[in-house]
């Protein structure tokens, strides 16, 4: 395989597509599939055959606004239809060449206008199980360019210039990480893709793996070339069966095309990837625990240093990046680090994919340039809060993040500002809450999650999160005291500072941020035995003892 052959494949795909007058793209991502995209696609195929028109019905990955699913986009007009059902198939096919079907058309121009698609550029446009579709969209061009025209150092330099930072949440500069692994000694090195997305309400990585698996594979191959690794692992949770299937198919096709394996593209570069399934432990998203899990051990973290870049999988230097980080690599190599660095804010470059969920009109996947204001994401792209309710807060970063109150919606979204507000960028979950959410109860929910997902190795996280859960439950039930609040803060300090890994160190964030911005709600629960949002059932017997303490 060389660039010319790649170009030939792309050309043949284009010629094949040119035989059709219309392309009907059906989003087959999990959200749309669960709303009936499968039967819809079958009906569309049947209707297309019956009509005699030259129509290509294509299944694609996630188009974005999942709450409007199942989604269908008709090209070349780029008409987007929402809430499409199988019985609409004939109407859609009949309308081709004749103007759109007004009843199904959705007006999400504002939703899409504010977005910049880099990671998701192909999602919704290609068939994720067809490697040739990916190649037709400049796929694997970056890998071949890197292998034949760039030295590993030049590749790393491009990544450094791009200013790309780890998309798993930590925000560590990717170029620096690659450089460290490249400099590490030894002839055996590994690259790992962290696809163990476990935050409640987050599905960015799943959509990338399902909608554009080759992008991840190509990113990993480029990384392996840059750092000198010959073996890669994709660690993906078994709860993502479609992602696993797409990646498996993707790896098979890439091997067949000679894009993985020995002597890739006639060079001396050897690289192959294996998939490892996670059993659903949230802590296995932590890199040392993930490595232990790949090694077949109990998924518990280890103290760092030594960092995986020096001593990782089986004690060898290991590069470990998140799915979205790898998905950014190919466009950076194709278009240059400077192109990427032009997007975003001062210290956070490029774009970020967010999974918008909660009390918001357009739930789904969005990709925005870094530095965009939270308000724009929520009010313009997200379409605001439904049902006449008012915004209260947005929770970013999942159980490791914090709640940002509505007053601060004008802050730009980047690693630093989110951290200043007591939250984190995280992997990209964004849960919107309105006046029907009780912030004490929200804190309790996330602490319960951390408590059950703690591995139990270190004491602060194991016992600390359990104690915090007890205290928060007591407060929610109206049995809390002001002393409990103080104790809760002391616990937060110890769990945050003394825990072994990121899970424990960030577990108190939801509690700390709600205490900071919504302390009055805690006080209402404790002193006035009242839940302002009406979520907690306080009437259920407040012990008299507690009343005495307060008196």
């Amino acid at each position: 395989m060389n660039i010319e052959e790649l170009e030939q494949i792309a050309e043949s795909v284009r010629l094949e597509n040119a035989k059709y007058d219309y392309e009907v793209n059906v989003c087959m991502d999990l959200a749309c599939a669960s709303q009936g995209a499968g039967p819809l696609r079958d009906e569309l195929v049947k209707a297309a055959e019956k009509s005699g028109k030259k129509v290509l019905v294509r299944r694609t990955g996630c188009m974005g606004p999942c709450s409007s699913g199942p989604l269908v986009r008709v090209d070349p007009e780029e008409t987007l239809y929402h809430h499409v059902h199988a019985n609409h198939a004939e109407a859609i096919v009949a309308s081709l060449g004749d103007g759109p079907v007004p009843a199904l058309q959705c007006d999400l121009n504002e939703h899409f206008d504010k977005q910049v698609r880099v990671v998701l550029e192909n999602a919704g446009y290609i068939d994720p199980e067809k490697i040739d579709d990916y190649i037709a969209c400049d796929g694997y061009k970056a890998l071949l360019t890197a292998l034949t025209e760039m030295s590993p150092n030049t590749v790393i330099q491009q990544i450094t210039d791009s200013g790309l930072r780890g998309r798993g949440g930590g925000g560590y500069p990717t170029g620096l990480k690659w450089g460290t692994v490249a400099k590490a000694g030894g002839d055996l090195k590994y690259v790992i893709c962290n696809g163990d997305e476990g935050d409640p309400g987050a599905f960015m990585d799943r959509s990338v793996m399902e909608g554009d698996p080759h992008r991840v594979i190509e990113g990993m191959a480029i990384a392996a070339y840059a750092v000198g690794a010959s073996k890669g692992y994709i660690y993906v949770r078994a709860e993502y069966p479609v992602a696993v299937a797409r990646l498996t198919a993707g790896l098979r096709d890439a091997r067949r095309r000679g894009l993985l394996g020995n002597g890739i593209c006639g060079t001396t570069f050897n690289f192959d990837i294996e998939i490892r399934l996670g059993a659903g432990a949230f802590v296995c998203g932590e890199e040392t625990a993930l490595i232990a899990s790949i090694e077949g051990k109990r998924g518990t973290p280890k103290p760092r240093p030594p960092y995986p870049a020096v001593s990782g999988l089986w004690g060898k230097p290991t590069l470990i990046n998140n799915v979205e980080t790898y998905a950014n690599i190919a466009p950076i190599i194709r278009k240059g680090g400077k192109w990427f660095a032009n997007m975003g804010s001062e210290r956070s470059k490029g774009t970020k994919v967010f999974a918008l969920t909660g009390k918001i009109t357009n739930t789904g996947l969005v990709e925005v340039p870094m530095g965009i204001k939270l308000r724009e994401i929520i009010e313009v792209i997200g379409g605001g809060v439904p049902g006449g309710h008012t915004f209260k807060a947005v929770q970013t970063g999942g159980p490791s993040g914090g709640c940002i109150p509505a007053e601060m919606f004008d802050t730009p979204v980047d690693y630093e500002t989110l951290a200043q507000l007591g939250s984190i960028m995280g992997s990209g979950g964004m849960i919107v809450m309105d006046d029907t959410s009780c912030m004490v109860n929200v804190a309790r929910f996330f602490i319960e999650f951390c408590m059950t997902e703690s591995c139990g190795k270190c004491i602060p996280c194991r016992a600390g999160t359990a104690q915090m859960f007890t205290l928060l439950t007591r407060i929610c039930n109206g049995g809390g005291t002001l002393d409990d609040l103080e104790l809760l803060e002391d616990l937060c300090a110890t769990v945050k500072e003394a825990s072994l890994c990121g899970l424990g160190q960030t577990a108190p964030n939801p509690v700390l941020s709600t205490l900071k911005y919504f302390r009055n709600e805690y006080i209402e629960h404790i002193v006035h035995k009242r839940c302002p949002a009406g979520v907690c059932n306080i009437e259920a017997a407040v012990p008299e003892v507690q009343a005495e303490v307060l008196a």
């Binding site: 280890k302 591995c455 602060p460 002391d490």
Partner: protein
Amino acid sequence: MSEPVGVKTLQINGEEVSARSGQTILEVAREHDIDIPTLCHLEGLSDVGACRLCLVEIKGSNKLLPACVTTVFEGMEVSTHTERLQKHRHMILELLFAERNHVCSVCVANGHCELQSLAQDQGLTHISLPYRNPELTVDASLERFTVDHNRCILCTRCVRVCAEIEGAHVWDVMGRGINSTVITDLNDPWGSSSCTRCGKCVQVCPTGALFDKSKVGSDHPKYPDFLPYLNLMREAR
């Protein structure tokens, strides 16, 4: 070929000390009679950095680092007993006491318990956290030893001594988070497990969780000091 041993100089609590490169802060501190509390650490076993009692502050780093696994570097400035650290140690011990059922007065290890002596050293007089009082089991199915999970602090010394020194790997950890528990084999009764009955786990257990049935009352001293000696003898062979 081993690397030449370098000498590093560093400060612990303002005191200038020297160390060999590759040594941990804990080793250096103990050589210089600076007491850093530990629970999961035991000389002769690998370190896991799990109990977090040995956390120290290092100038220039915001993070607290475990002294048992952090190696020294030239010019390092370590503080081992700041107010912040003592507060966390206090809280960690409180968390342990509230986690399971630690009742010293009826414990076989009373007076010989590392958790108890640490609490005394730290001046822990009462527990402000709510006791969890879990219902846990006691496994006395082995003829010589008993495991009382009520007193286990999950330091995993038994797991490590069994795997690393005895080579049997009978002990391991089951479950997650607050529900973690040490088990023998695949959660089989200890008496019908593949245990070699060597008793090393009992000697290294810092509390009364693992104890010898032949001893009565609270006269139950432990002798974990055999480990470094055993390792030394093995290396000499």
